[in-house]
Symmetry: C2
Subunit: 322 residues, 2 copies
Amino acid sequence: MIIAKERGKRPYDFVIEQDKTKGGYCPLCPGHEQNTPPEILAYGRSSDMPNTPGWKLRVVPNKYPALVIEGELDKRGEGIYDKMNGIGAHEVIVETPDHYETLPTMEYEQMGLIFRAYRDRMVDLARDSRFKFVMIFKNYGRSAGASLEHSHSQLIALPVVPHRIQEEINGCLRYFDYKDRCVFCDIIRQERSQNMRIVCENSEFITICPFAPRAPFEMWVLPKRHQSQFVSMDERQFEMLTYLFSETMRRLNNALPFVSYNYMLHTAPLHSSSLEHFHWHIEIMPKLTMIAGFEWGTGFYINPTPPEEAARFLREIELDEY
Amino acid sequence: MIIAKERGKRPYDFVIEQDKTKGGYCPLCPGHEQNTPPEILAYGRSSDMPNTPGWKLRVVPNKYPALVIEGELDKRGEGIYDKMNGIGAHEVIVETPDHYETLPTMEYEQMGLIFRAYRDRMVDLARDSRFKFVMIFKNYGRSAGASLEHSHSQLIALPVVPHRIQEEINGCLRYFDYKDRCVFCDIIRQERSQNMRIVCENSEFITICPFAPRAPFEMWVLPKRHQSQFVSMDERQFEMLTYLFSETMRRLNNALPFVSYNYMLHTAPLHSSSLEHFHWHIEIMPKLTMIAGFEWGTGFYINPTPPEEAARFLREIELDEY
């Protein structure tokens, strides 16, 4: 990652495509349950009638899935190339019944349901031995790839561990082999002692701007206790994650109002034991710069905002009492 | 890469942000030579006065460089992190004096100058031993990251070989070690025998839609003769590349009028001998889909257009005689 200070940018230097919700017909709103594929999970509905209103959170299959759940993997060659069927699950987590609610405006209780739904779906999908990895992610705002404005995240279960995830895990393993410590635990230790890139923290979680951010205002949310699997969180961690994630999203929204962003949950592959060398975390990438030829070609990112400046700006925001 | 046929898209299914040139003040136009940093190279000017009109192609330093040419690399640690100075060169290749000209409308002679400028700049930069790699790329259209509309490409010389390039070269080396053949030579052989993903070809070059495209209508332009370095091309290859690249860009523009795109020149690192296992090529990525959470997280790309369909569409376009 290249920090281009000549291009140094503070939040108000960016032209932000503001993605305020506009309303209109929405297939994810209560009352339109029949317009999604049949629900997989719902919280908060007092009746036992699936696909009816009254829910607080709902998980449905993606109507236009990138992968399909039926069939066999069927790995095969075509000359020098390799092919396999696109087996997988692609689900939509409808985070709230309120079309106008966003993560920074959401109450703690509601946000807590989102993380519980992530956990429950991962535990359920792990039962299908064809799946090796679950990627949970959120695209917020049109310029971050969201096609629906109703607050939602997505889940894709894959029959392989993606190369980029495996690379990350392998890198952590090499560090562990050499130092006998988890690299993310070391990052947390160094960030807490340097205190230059911390955005916020509580007893269980910490949000930092990473030392080598690919995007301006990139943030990572990490559990302070070593833990390789998101699904291993205990009740207190769920609560504390909710508090810190809510604060993180409110700081982001205050710094860069209605900015588009992606976040990705990095957790250990399914069926893996608890790993000493890997540490689950959430990576938040605000969408302020473009992926262009240089980034495509090299995998390097040109970032006009040093992480120390981004973190200071986010940290110094005064939030209303919540 | 995931081909999502359920989302199958032909060219007219995409909403294309058309990036027609709009004109207005342009720092790259003739007469404004004093508004760029002093030129590094110019072709076609009959006078000996640098930074004056009369040129056919001009190379200037980027006014807002991502990297700066002065100084030492100065690798150092900061706790567990590594740092180095942002040493490098960042140049702009102004491809034509005509503000309204684009690659698909450009005459062969003019396009030929572009490839010659790439070569001349790479040869010159190779003399600076601090540089290990030169990435040449073009961003066309706002949604592909272009901030100026006057036709131009860019060059960044780097003090390291980028990880993604090294990975590509290592992958090619593993294939070579196993098969004793260049993987790109094998790809060309298979594509010519299958004849399903070829867009166009001539005696020296071939344009294909790659088997695993990250983007709809992604194309690769490859020399048919094995060659690891772009700068090793002979005169006839320069001519034949110009013809085929022009045809490729006209086919793209005909299929997806004024679509934004990036292209990247993949060539062997500076100072490397001629490599049996690596084969230079140009990757063209039309900007039709978004990099969102799933792609960030996994490095996988969801592509709604199978390469066979993209290639057939591009191939069957009837071009005017040129």
